[in-house]
Amino acid sequence: MNLQVLPKGALVEWIELLSARYRVIGPKRKQEVVQQQPAGDTQQPPREQYIFGELQGAHELELSYPSTILPPKKVFLPQKEELFSFKDNGHQVDLQLDERRTVIFGIHTCDLHAVLLLDQAFSQGAADQHYMARRANTTLVSIECLEPCSENAFCKDMGTWIMPETFDLHLTDLGHEYALEIGSAKGSELLQNLTNIRTATETDYWRFNQVISAKWARFPYRLEADLSELPSLLAISYRSQVWEELGQQCLGCGTCTAVCPTCYCFDVVDEVNFDLTSGKRFRVWDSCQFGQFASVAGGHDFRNSRAARLRHRFYHKFKYQSDSFGLAGCVGCGRCAEACLVNIKPIDVINKLHRKRVAVSGKRQEVMG
């Protein structure tokens, strides 16, 4: 391992250097909104919220953020994205791929795992050039999480709390300095002209190992089933009563899929100009939790209840994606649990299914024994 060390103070210089060559994006504080008067008696203090956004300088960068509202997928797959514009009824089309050179700072390892999964989804078969162009021109600077970001995160269970094999540049907070691992040529390119960086010494390695090993104990396991059991657990739970119960609660608002770093379903819409012969085609985020998502002309809806839609989401995350990509479709970031108004949380759902199975197989053993 080639470890470099960067004093925290050098971030200012580094981001300035990078800003000359790249669009620099990183976690920053969401601009505060004024506290409206709560209607009830429970006055909650406003919580700090973070988003990935373009940085004006290092002062905006918040590397010790817990989580962001939306994951970094929005950089590669914007909420609303022009696919092409057309004129003269389509006889003239204009396509502009977004090839801005970009650096994203401070991606947590779970989100990095998620980007790798998106890479699979968008490169497999017919590649998605819009995604690929952005991805190819982006360098990711990930950061090691030293503490769980929320009680809803279960990255340790999903194996995403540590760095994946592919990365560009990875930071670990050593207190006054960052340890820096270089994972790719793209990553090392970011270090050009950076003066304040040095190669790690024995002591640095020792400190680094200290920090990493101290991390282990701080992360609890939260799933009662093992990652490897999830596909088989789901395989037998398709008709579980749990889905009906959750379906009753679900608001169908699609918040969970919007905040999910591995959700990428989209809709395609045209917008025409008043001449009716020119316009644009856009891709916009969609959600499998919306009523019309799977309905076809003639009105047949192939997933026509909130329970069925919710179940599809869980199967997609915990079974279908791992079956087809060999990567878990859920990276355990906990965002959906955090954002869900009716408290539908993957940890609870999986544990509930697991307990049911244990109870059933226990009973069966009793009968057989």
């Binding site: 696919l83 009824n89 089309v93 017919a126 819009h130 990428y264 379903c265 969609d286 309905s295 069925a308």
Partner: protein, 283 residues
């Protein structure tokens, strides 16, 4: 040599349609029209029966349609049979010869025609389901000697909704094709069979082990037809269906067409029953 259309997307964007021209529009029924689409330059669709294209009306949107013409009969043009059902299809019905449309495709898995050589082929289109099967039927008829019996049982709700009536007449006239047509509700002039499509199946004599069945129609129809076909002893792997789903991209990205873990646009739309029978969301 003509170039396959699909290769034109790989260099630019998979979502960028190629501008094609409507060469001809022929009304088939009140709601359905047959569009002949002409590709520009040297391009050819190079499709397999059962595959579909994404057709754009610029400024309105895009929708998937099965290719209705046979690959054996196309040279730079192909046909789509389109039912007026919503935004894109309404707009399409308002277009005429010479108008521009966008085309992407062909997409999906069609019927693996070669595998059916020597087999007896049983076609069971219901209503608009004839659109994709017509492609396969005509291909089979163009290489008729490669196959055993060809039986077509076609059902529509009403005589006025029968598609491709001229072709049905042609097929019926052939010695080597067995055709039966039925309608759910008759009108005064209808001389033929009345009853849902499943009522035709028991009367057909089949050698089940050598029969491959193809059925395309609405979800309710599948349920009943499958019972009959399986009852006849046709193997699950020899019953082919084509499934319709909402679809936006056609290339396995947008997520709309998922049937459990399968993507209709990549893994289908043509499936052998054996592949989907355990999938809750399939039928």
């Amino acid at each position: 040599m003509s170039l396959p259309l699909i290769e034109t997307f790989s260099t630019t964007s998979a979502y960028l349609p190629l501008v094609a021209r409507i060469a001809d529009v022929r009304p088939l029924t009140q709601l359905e029209k047959l569009f002949t689409i002409e590709l520009p330059g040297d391009l050819s669709l190079k499709h397999a029966p059962g595959q579909f294209v994404e057709l754009s009306v610029f400024g309105v949107g895009e929708a998937p349609f099965s290719i209705s013409s046979s690959p054996s009969r196309s040279n730079g043009t192909f046909e789509l049979c389109v039912r007026q059902a919503g935004q894109v299809t309404d707009a399409l019905h308002a277009l005429g010869p010479g108008d521009a449309v966008g085309v992407r495709g062909p997409f999906g898995r069609g019927f693996p025609v070669r595998r059916f050589r020597g087999k007896d082929l049983l076609f069971l289109p219901g209503g608009l389901g004839l659109a994709p099967l017509r492609s396969l039927i005509n291909q089979v008829l163009d290489e008729r000697s490669n196959y055993g019996r060809v039986i077509i049982l076609y059902g529509a709700r009403h005589p006025s909704e029968l598609l491709f009536q001229d072709e049905l007449t042609l097929w019926s006239a052939r010695e080597d094709v067995e055709v039966q047509v039925t309608v759910d509700r008759s009108d005064g002039n209808w001389q033929g069979h009345v009853g849902v499509i499943t009522t035709l199946i028991p009367e057909v004599q089949l050698y089940a082990p050598n029969t491959v069945a193809f059925t395309v129609g609405p979800p309710v129809m599948y349920r009943f037809v499958l019972v009959e076909l399986l009852g006849k002893g046709i193997r699950e792997g020899n019953i082919w269906l084509s499934l319709e789903r909402r679809m936006k991209c056609g290339i396995g990205k947008c997520g709309h067409c998922q049937i459990n873990h399968l993507y209709t646009c990549l893994d289908g739309p043509c499936f052998p029953y054996a592949q989907i029978k355990r999938l809750e969301e399939a039928l």
